[in-house]
Subunit: 446 residues, 4 copies
Amino acid sequence: MTEKNKTSIPSPAPIAEPTGKLGVLLVGLGAVSTTFIAGVEAVRRGKALPIGSLTQMACIRLGKRTENRNPRIRDFVPLATLDDLVFGAWDIFPDSAYEAALHAGVLERSLIEDLKPFLSKIKPMPAAFDRSYVKRLDGRNVKPAANKYELAEQLIADIENFRKKHHCTRLVMIWCASTEVYLEPAPKHHGTLKAFEAAMKANHKSIAPSMLYAYAALKCGVPFANGAPNLTVDIPALIELAQMNHVPICGKDFKTGQTFMKTLIAPGLKSRMLGLQGWYSTNILGNRDGEVLDDPESFKTKEESKLSVLEYILQPELYPELYRDFSHVVRINYYPPRGDNKEGWDNIDIVGWLGYPMQVKINFLCRDSILAAPLVLDLALFLDLAQRAGMRGIQEWLSFYFKSPMVAPQLYPEHDIFIQLMKLKNTLRHLRGEDLITHLGLEYYD
Amino acid sequence: MTEKNKTSIPSPAPIAEPTGKLGVLLVGLGAVSTTFIAGVEAVRRGKALPIGSLTQMACIRLGKRTENRNPRIRDFVPLATLDDLVFGAWDIFPDSAYEAALHAGVLERSLIEDLKPFLSKIKPMPAAFDRSYVKRLDGRNVKPAANKYELAEQLIADIENFRKKHHCTRLVMIWCASTEVYLEPAPKHHGTLKAFEAAMKANHKSIAPSMLYAYAALKCGVPFANGAPNLTVDIPALIELAQMNHVPICGKDFKTGQTFMKTLIAPGLKSRMLGLQGWYSTNILGNRDGEVLDDPESFKTKEESKLSVLEYILQPELYPELYRDFSHVVRINYYPPRGDNKEGWDNIDIVGWLGYPMQVKINFLCRDSILAAPLVLDLALFLDLAQRAGMRGIQEWLSFYFKSPMVAPQLYPEHDIFIQLMKLKNTLRHLRGEDLITHLGLEYYD
Amino acid sequence: MTEKNKTSIPSPAPIAEPTGKLGVLLVGLGAVSTTFIAGVEAVRRGKALPIGSLTQMACIRLGKRTENRNPRIRDFVPLATLDDLVFGAWDIFPDSAYEAALHAGVLERSLIEDLKPFLSKIKPMPAAFDRSYVKRLDGRNVKPAANKYELAEQLIADIENFRKKHHCTRLVMIWCASTEVYLEPAPKHHGTLKAFEAAMKANHKSIAPSMLYAYAALKCGVPFANGAPNLTVDIPALIELAQMNHVPICGKDFKTGQTFMKTLIAPGLKSRMLGLQGWYSTNILGNRDGEVLDDPESFKTKEESKLSVLEYILQPELYPELYRDFSHVVRINYYPPRGDNKEGWDNIDIVGWLGYPMQVKINFLCRDSILAAPLVLDLALFLDLAQRAGMRGIQEWLSFYFKSPMVAPQLYPEHDIFIQLMKLKNTLRHLRGEDLITHLGLEYYD
Amino acid sequence: MTEKNKTSIPSPAPIAEPTGKLGVLLVGLGAVSTTFIAGVEAVRRGKALPIGSLTQMACIRLGKRTENRNPRIRDFVPLATLDDLVFGAWDIFPDSAYEAALHAGVLERSLIEDLKPFLSKIKPMPAAFDRSYVKRLDGRNVKPAANKYELAEQLIADIENFRKKHHCTRLVMIWCASTEVYLEPAPKHHGTLKAFEAAMKANHKSIAPSMLYAYAALKCGVPFANGAPNLTVDIPALIELAQMNHVPICGKDFKTGQTFMKTLIAPGLKSRMLGLQGWYSTNILGNRDGEVLDDPESFKTKEESKLSVLEYILQPELYPELYRDFSHVVRINYYPPRGDNKEGWDNIDIVGWLGYPMQVKINFLCRDSILAAPLVLDLALFLDLAQRAGMRGIQEWLSFYFKSPMVAPQLYPEHDIFIQLMKLKNTLRHLRGEDLITHLGLEYYD
Ligand SMILES: NC(=O)c1ccc[n+]([C@@H]2O[C@H](COP(=O)([O-])OP(=O)(O)OC[C@H]3O[C@@H](n4cnc5c(N)ncnc54)[C@H](O)[C@@H]3O)[C@@H](O)[C@H]2O)c1
Ligand SMILES: NC(=O)c1ccc[n+]([C@@H]2O[C@H](COP(=O)([O-])OP(=O)(O)OC[C@H]3O[C@@H](n4cnc5c(N)ncnc54)[C@H](O)[C@@H]3O)[C@@H](O)[C@H]2O)c1
Ligand SMILES: NC(=O)c1ccc[n+]([C@@H]2O[C@H](COP(=O)([O-])OP(=O)(O)OC[C@H]3O[C@@H](n4cnc5c(N)ncnc54)[C@H](O)[C@@H]3O)[C@@H](O)[C@H]2O)c1
Ligand SMILES: NC(=O)c1ccc[n+]([C@@H]2O[C@H](COP(=O)([O-])OP(=O)(O)OC[C@H]3O[C@@H](n4cnc5c(N)ncnc54)[C@H](O)[C@@H]3O)[C@@H](O)[C@H]2O)c1
Ligand code: NA
Ligand code: NA
């Protein structure tokens, strides 16, 4: 937005207070979910810091640079506290959060043992699952049902039971389950809510299990975030439902690791008008996610999500001499010695003054779930905030967290992480009636 | 700045047209200067692209995202064209730009030979030089003088002769000479213009040769940029002179290579609230600049410039748990096989959720002068623009180009390259009366 | 061999002198072949050094350390000189060596232009080719024939014509053509010379074009080396023919780049009894070879060749605790910005004292054909030497040059490059009746 | 040695059996020593494997390749077993092995706690120490004495007390203490045993504390190995004493980490006659050893040891075109986040066919003490073996373990790790009357 057009911006509604329990419903109780749950509990017990979480750690600058006003975000907007959170999950394996955390191999055994009584109590509800959407997995903790519509009804029942049992005033749902195979958008079945419901009943193959969870959440008025690259809630039918039921939604695909790095480096190269000849990215990882992505169809979903980032950031249509013809290769290799410590190697071929070539190589020894867990926390708290602030449908200001951000149909997605962060923070400023930051700063001179 | 305080921003003055020749006076005719000069000439002849230069290549987004207004910067603000530029230089070696370019070994021999007639004509004027400020160099093309004040007077004469000889309507001066030894700010001699002039006459050791060039420029009303980390124009006496004579100034130390990367990565880590345990940076380079920096005193000047970057970006005072105690080591090693292809290796120890460590390694096979040359061009054109727009003194909006940006005394320097770029672009928008960008964008929803 | 068993070693026959021209027949006139030919010519003209070639550069230590006898290999054994070499080639494209060298993009244009008259005269003979063995290529310079046997007869005619036309006293042939698709050994057709000739006439699909070249060479008494991983001469039928006709043969797959590095590092790890958990190797390259290897079937041939190396060096059967279960992944990605500069990135997960893990990362910015060309030269000269020394059949002592060395059926291949080099040098010592080196050296003490 | 000269090799004496306890006396009870001691105990308890140790893990090939004789080294030569070992130490800090191991931060806390009763009993004897030889350290557990000779006498008493107290039949001593400052060889004081003893009494500064330990050991007939780069036992006076008293000695400076890698890669480059333009090595480490090496004088001792390696391996005198003028830079930087995990980054500029340049980058994430501990074990056992086999003075066959191997005065040191290993194994074969391996292998053909 721009200053002049201020009139067109909806002025912020009052924000309801976050009283009572907030239930966080996780689809999939794997590496990311258990790292998130165990971490929140460890933080609540004062054993660790919620590093990587903006809602818990970040400050927001207000006013002029010389005013020195930098409150914590959580003191600036009314968020649920960690103590308010209760957790639920679905998974195709019956393992409790304790067993699943051990299996995931992300956290140190001693921490998991400390939290054993707490984690053991979190047992996954039976999943809505179908092997044709995740070829490498097979589990028994699965709901039987006549058709997809019936599955959705069972999920709705799960949600309402959870709400009652845990006395929650609000809920949010986050997809942290495996990446499903690549599905083309199917306007005939995804185009309207009506068509979608008909397709569910007809058991149509363009309705993936993840869509059933999203549908169930929205029917129950529960905000939904999608941490994987599957289509899921990013179809007209479900966007319509979100609008109708006043529910905020966002996605897709948590931005961590290599893509996170890409969205730092690429805007940096563009900021300096350095050209790009090629970008080769390879990843090695050895966890269950890596096993699932070893299947070419699941990989295709991920690849699409990872490839588009550069195109959008670099704007080849504006800068054909710099960014039109670069070669972009992304590979993921299942390599068991790495475990959850997904490692990336990037080779970037850039071009400078008069066309002289240079190279940047980046080796990122990261930990996948350690990077993803704080995003789950922020999304849970921000979606709940959005709902209390009366925001509904696509939350573009949460693009910061995603590799393939959902946006209004007429817009291109913004991938530059710095613009995304500015959008997020200016949204918070706007919600509280504070001035937006432009970084002009001429008032300090003369 | 913020929306509310708009009233306090000086409203943009009309900008004088860039008619006539613009003389670019370069202190030092080494690798950077010759790469810049030869490059501009190659671009003028249609043989190469000015990649890396915002003034030549970049667009600027205006209005709303859906308006699709993205003019080239050079079509948006009135800049001198490449055809308007004429070049002059001082150096302690008598080599012409042709010989110096061959010696520097940056550009391909065949390109240099093509431009031989043009480059051979650019011969350096004798330098104001003193070996005690650059220990590793010794040259004969040096001005004899009774004292530093006399040297400054000779430089002033050089400037005015150049102006006349080349029929320039405007001039700018850019320090592209070797890094001088580390000097502490000396309030007694640097504090006021009067004290400064006295110290020059007294030949005081706190007056480095670079200060004489800056003094001469400002006396002649010529904007001055400092591409090296030496104090030079960043002292109260010369800031006072710049204000008095209505001359824009900026510096210090071109931001290229490793530090450029640092100012991409560090804001990215902070954007996600990832902690930092340590950052180890080593550089290998084999050109004359590397030889000069092999002297511990010159290195100290550079090291100070390179070290402060992280402190400012990461704000340890706001985020003590994340950024207080990291270990930051910067090394530069003279390694002749590299030539001008300065290569950096960075090891970054970061910390995520619950304190788990991760590592990023960056290997940048860069070309020092290829990265610096377009910055010289942009600074020349933007300083000239600033002068025609009536801006004087420190140009904070040009921080984008520097490792140690000059700022108003009450402010901390902004090192985040994305904020710097936003500041630069919003300054241009402001100069032309366009709306500033805030990236809120809520008007696209609901 | 061991000292005691000396009696069983065939004692060296006298070696015929290398008088007259040696014709080097290259199958494939691509990047490797043209880099080899142009390089030999540049060396003959005194413009460059034959770096990477043992026959041209290396010394060989004789006697005790204190004797200081280190003649050049080429002064120690009677080799053809560079001046004796004449070149011929087959290719499916009609480009001369001049055009092919330009296309390959390995050597600087200026060098190729200097050699233009020489290179233009080398024009490829029409190839024996069949697209079903190299799916990504299609060329018109191809021999028509009723069946494979007829093709072989045409190749024999080519060889004899070349011999006459260029007045060669000796010939050698080296396969430098594209990697063919993976073929399983087919005992029924490859098992005996008789079966093989029948299969050629029957146009059987287990007879690849490369086998026709090898057959033709051996029929003409011409030593044959195989630089690619295809089976080619490594089948019982052709080994039988080599024995019968007294022709030396060797192969397969030039050991350069990443595999070369592997055979340095792996013996080093084993020398220290450091364990291995995994080795991930990825390659990016952008030349025609890369394009061919982008085809999964050609890649499979290469992959087999690249994977076996570690198994043999590390001897998991002797060291199960250290080397039984490591994960070994090799990837090749076609990435055009790299051109011929194939780049490798290796991640090696090793294990030390008490099981503690460590990592080695190797990034090799290599040039494929620059590494391969001197191997072609050495193989040509050493095969010719072997023939003059009366050696026939598999030349295990040339294992040094290959990723998948051919060995006697009862033996495992030796991949350790240091053992291979010792074997090569001790073979030369043996040929000249010098003592073999054992590196005991106790005679220097007490 | 060579076959013909077999007569000059001393034929192997019978080897005394290793009955009774072997006392291992460690100078310095820091990271390496405690990792060694705790590791041996963990292995004795069946909790871990002695990975990295040839005496415990390696096999040795005997006879022909087809014989398949590959006994473990420890079954082939009579070595002390792990159960026979008892440990003693000196240190300037009074911490027991338990406390020192915790401080070192190499092994997991849980392992150290398991071994607490055992480790706590190992308490260091007061050290012979002088701060002017290790500037960064200061400890109180130090022997007072009138002069250096008296200190040596106290050490002799310590040794004999230990022998009696622990009922040892044999002892060995290994220097695992800090690197002392660089000392020039001082022929006047180091030249003969007599001069050396006079200098001790005169408290001459060319007698470092490490020499006193070595002197005491040799006087007591105890074999001595030097794991640091200090001169120590590598002076004529002490070599004379070793000969006289029939004691084996070896050193200097454990070859681990980066130098270990160098001695793999450099012979590999030379094997292929690839030229070298430069080798830049940087190390980051954060343990006490790193702190000591941060002192320029201690670093100089280390640097000398690290630099010479390449010169010897590459033989520039034989290969001036390839190896005469390369640039070799070695840096060590103290960087606390690394702890004991010393990390190396190497950049290697190589040259191939016709002079084309290539690069290899190696990033070694190693663990210093994990690599050193098994070397301590092997040296203890092999020195004891040597003594029982009647070998005395310099043990060149143990060069395999050292960065600066001690050799007979007329010889150059052998740095190639593969030659070193061959020498070691052929020495063992020789001791047992087995054939030496030459890798000729012609007997398998024809
Ligand atoms: N940094 C990151 O970790 C990161 C980043 C981006 C995206 N993601 C995505 O987040 C998701 C979770 O990652 P993870 O590492 O936790 O994977 P994981 O394999 O450890 O866990 C996923 C869990 O989902 C379960 N599951 C699969 N289908 C289900 C269904 N229909 N209903 C209920 N449960 C189902 C699986 O059984 C498994 O336990 C993956 O899709 C991954 O691609 C992760
Ligand atoms: N990427 C980059 O190249 C980069 C980045 C940041 C800063 N810099 C700085 O830019 C400057 C120029 O870099 P370069 O690579 O061209 O170095 P260079 O050594 O090639 O050229 C510097 C020239 O300045 C001359 N000189 C020294 N003192 C002088 C004086 N008093 N008057 C006139 N001439 C003098 C020297 O003789 C030399 O020719 C250096 O200070 C360098 O640190 C360069
Ligand atoms: N370092 C190295 O370069 C290296 C290492 C190991 C193996 N190799 C192998 O060496 C071979 C040559 O490599 P290159 O880089 O020169 O490849 P290239 O693609 O540049 O050249 C191969 C040439 O062979 C020709 N060809 C294909 N089939 C033929 C046939 N049946 N008869 C005649 N010509 C035929 C092609 O037209 C092409 O011109 C490849 O198989 C490659 O895998 C190369
Ligand atoms: N990979 C490796 O770890 C490696 C490789 C090569 C060489 N080294 C060398 O091995 C030695 C030990 O390494 P570390 O990591 O164990 O170091 P450390 O600093 O942990 O231990 C050395 C110990 O020696 C003690 N010490 C110093 N001077 C002494 C003296 N005169 N008498 C008795 N004790 C004394 C110190 O107090 C300290 O506890 C160092 O010299 C190091 O350079 C180690
Ligand atoms: Na890959
Ligand atoms: Na360094």
